[in-house]
């Protein structure tokens, strides 16, 4: 490949989790430089998503769009990222402006890139600018050199592209484990929901595996910039590379939870057998599995796609499937030698990374598909084409409901009959999305775009579009039914980036356990959990080992949902690496700083206030009569008990009354949450709150004072 630029840098030693240095690449003029990370930035932004947001803020103006040259893609792991003793310690956070909304997006991903980047010498990587040539960026952390090549590779989809790059760069089989590649696929040329794949090398299978920075369309930005791939190499990963302050603390915590997982995983969630897909049948049992565009919560055919089916027929067992070293939760399951039935890779026997729970619901029940083979085939193509599976499911489900409602016909789709459960036509659709052809080109733009398109071109009723189009802030909803949980409606709606469940997952606490009955209780949960959960994205950790395995001590805990023993583990490994002496309250405050920064960043970009926290009614209650009648007993009871409404009236009247009640409930919840978070009634962080957080930076005050 033609070498276009190179940059030699001095090796540094990581001190307590930090290089104190980041790498910046301007691909407009191939300028490579390094930046010192000042102490104040570390104090207030910690790392990971914090660093990403800080760099992005500095790079853009309120006029910047996702495809402006000054939009950046920032990748960063975090101070704890790269340890090997504790499960889930290799996460990277990717930050950019999303094509879905031109607002800041953060996307969380496994694989090896972020930690290897750190060991190569950089706490974060910023890419700015655009290139007319297709570029491959190569960072060699052992030779301490950065190279930019003009790509000569014609492979376009991640599974082949990553494999070829690994083969080309690695010296031999043993060396392959030292590389990680960031890439996307053909869909990134057209689709606003295109994502990024981050690889890790599976030494047992001797194959390249893909993990996804799924949410928010950053793959589209990557492609638009002219990036083909990022390659990082670092040989010599060891548990002490972070030069931790106190490795004993880390060793102790790691061994403790390894033992816990060995002892309890099989009886609890079976993560090592099937990963997060263990809850497919559970969600169905509790009427929470999104079915037919979030209309329903269960389906009689779920037995064809429950976790047992995947375990017994498709998913390889007894292989250590961690996506970073040392993950004993081992949930990155895969189907091996899976024969592809359709499309450009028909006949190939491939490895399918998944299905995670989200994939089984998005590529399954939500679009009416109950065939495990099809779910795996869609999973494979989403991954290699670079399509976010969650957005795929939710946007196709929307397209299907619109089709079944007669908003458009198969004349409009050139023959595609987008009924729920139409397997061959859904498979045809995904190939169209990837090639930017036909109706797929429209669907591939996401729910927000489709709503506008259907209103303009098919005379769709705007209110109906708003009600059933499951997106907010541009981002498609992830795969849980929040309809009967006010707390989860807030958990989805009162977020920074949109309805992704990384901030809060409160459905059971709310609906089943009834542990947060008042508005204040819910507001407290919508403060603590988002702040605790977003902390993982500052330091480079995966949240699954926090609560997808339960320690024995939980049985006697006053607040088992918080997993106190595991919280203590995190305090230990954080202090163990950084030498800090923080408590959980300090960690929450660290999160609050970045969280409020992100909120204000949204506001700076013309977004991010109360009006943007409004949610589609499908996320809150029954839009159609069919939905009301499917849960009639529950809804009638609620109307009688909570509203005092006469349930002998018509369904339409009852639906109207229920809707008024629920929309009002959401407004009251919003008030309570804003109050708890220290925000104005319009959802703007107050100056007092910023002072309290020591986040009263001049650029933040400048933004908020216009809106307070």
């Amino acid at each position: 490949m033609k070498l276009l630029a190179e940059y030699k840098y001095n090796p540094t030693e990581i001190v307590k989790g930090y290089n104190d240095r980041s790498l910046k690449i301007d691909i407009s003029d191939l300028a490579i430089s390094e930046k010192e990370i000042p102490q104040q930035m570390k104090e207030k932004f910690i790392g990971g998503k914090g660093f990403g947001l800080r760099y992005l803020w500095d790079a853009v103006t309120p006029e910047t769009k996702w495809n402006s040259p000054e939009n950046e893609i920032v990748i960063s792991s975090g101070p704890v990222g790269g340890i090997t003793q504790y499960p889930g310690s290799g996460k990277s956070l990717v930050v950019s402006l999303t094509p879905l909304n031109d607002t800041p997006m953060d996307s969380n991903v496994g694989g090896h890139f972020g930690p290897l980047l750190k060991f190569a010498g950089f706490d974060a990587l910023e890419i700015i600018g655009k290139s007319a040539k297709e570029l491959i960026v190569y960072i060699d952390g052992n030779e301490n050199i950065v190279k930019i090549f003009e790509s000569d590779i014609d492979k376009i989809d991640s599974h082949e592209l990553s494999e070829e790059l690994t083969d080309r760069f690695a010296a031999d089989e043993i060396d392959k484990r030292n590389y990680s590649i960031v890439s996307t696929g053909s869909a990134a040329r057209y689709s606003n929901v295109a994502m990024l794949n981050f690889t890790f090398y599976d030494v047992k299978r001797q194959k390249v595996r893909l993990k996804q920075a799924g949410r928010g369309g950053i793959g589209r930005v990557f492609n638009d910039k002219g990036l083909k791939a990022l390659v990082v190499k670092y040989a010599g990963v060891k548990s002490d590379l972070n030069n931790p302050a106190n490795i004993a603390k880390i060793n102790r915590a790691g061994i403790r939870i390894h033992k816990e997982i060995n002892r309890f995983d099989t009886a609890q969630n079976n993560m090592r057998k099937i990963g997060t897909a263990n809850i497919i049948e559970v969600m169905n049992d509790y009427d929470l599995l999104p079915t037919h565009n979030f209309k329903f919560g269960a389906h009689e055919d779920v037995k064809y796609i429950e976790s047992k089916v995947f375990i017994e027929k498709y998913i390889t067992q007894d292989v250590p499937d961690g996506c970073w070293h040392g993950c004993s939760l081992s949930c990155a399951k895969a189907a091996d030698d899976f024969e592809i039935m359709t499309g450009p890779y028909k006949g190939q026997k491939v490895i399918v990374d998944g299905p995670e729970y989200e994939n089984a619901a998005a590529l399954g029940s939500n679009i009416g598909i109950f065939c495990p083979r099809t779910i795996l085939e869609l999973n494979f193509y989403c991954d290699t084409y670079g399509i976010d599976t969650i957005s795929f499911g939710t946007m196709v489900a929307f397209a299907m409901e619109c089709y079944e409602s007669g908003i458009y016909t198969k004349e409009d789709t050139n023959g595609l009959e987008l009924n729920f459960g139409n397997i061959p036509h859904t498979l045809e659709l995904i190939h169209q999305i990837a090639s930017g052809e036909g109706f797929g080109k429209i669907v591939g733009m996401g729910v927000k775009y489709m709503k506008k398109y259907f209103i303009k071109n098919f005379n769709a009723d705007p209110e109906f579009m708003f009600d059933i189009g499951m997106e907010q802030k541009g981002l498609e909803y992830s795969e849980y039914l929040s309809k009967e949980s006010l707390a989860q409606q807030g958990g989805y709606g009162l977020t920074n980036k949109g309805p992704q469940h990384d901030e809060a997952w409160l459905i059971f606490m709310d609906m089943v356990n009834n542990q947060i009955p008042t508005f204040e209780d819910k507001a407290e949960a919508l403060h603590y959990f988002p702040m605790f959960r977003t902390w993982f994205g500052l330091v480079g950790l995966c949240k699954l080992p926090w609560n997808d395995i339960t320690p024995q001590s939980n049985a006697t805990s006053k607040e088992p949902a918080k997993m106190p023993e595991h919280v203590q583990n995190y305090v230990d490994i954080y202090n163990g690496v950084t030498g800090k002496d923080v408590t959980i309250h300090d960690m929450i405050k660290e999160s609050e700083r970045v969280y409020n920064f992100q909120r204000i960043f949204n506001i700076r970009m013309g977004y991010g206030k109360r009006i943007n926290d409004k949610t589609p009614y499908r996320s809150m209650g029954p839009v159609t009569e069919e939905e009301y009648l499917s849960r009639q007993d529950r809804y009638d009871k609620q109307l009688e008990e909570l509203v005092g409404f006469d349930v002998s009236k018509s369904t339409q009247e009852k639906m109207k009354a229920l809707r008024e009640y629920r929309e009002n409930q959401y407004e009251l919840l919003t008030d309570a949450v804003y109050k708890r978070r220290g925000w104005s009634k319009n959802g703007v962080p107050t100056i007092e709150k910023l002072k309290d957080l020591e986040m009263d930076l001049p650029e933040l005050i400048e933004v908020v004072k216009e809106h307070l």
């Binding site: 003793q85 030494v203 990963v237 390894h258």
Partner: protein, 130 residues
Amino acid sequence: MKILKFEKELCIGCHACEEACSELYFKSSDIKKARLKITEVVDDFNIFSGCNQCGECVNVCPEGALYQAKNGVIRMKKDLCVGCMMCVGYCDDFHYHDDYVEPFKCLSCGACARKCPTGALSMIDVEVSS
């Protein structure tokens, strides 16, 4: 292949076995660096921890660092080990020390048995695990 046999009635808790091991492998008299452990128990027999070379840990290691040598003993390729401690979490006969990244285990060398003054430790012949 040979593995360690422990006869608890004979163990006097002198730790000479552990010291022989830590001296041999780590040039240290710190018995916490031994590849076997004798835990003294008040009013009961001492507890022994040492590897019986069963090989279950080989599949547990995500790096492929553990392997069965020709003589049946389970050994570690240190350069492949990243120090994740999953083996230690899996089996109580795997040991570690904060001074070292890589954990360690008994290699059936017999040095401890030779040092044992009471014969509580000896080497016995067993079938190689498949």
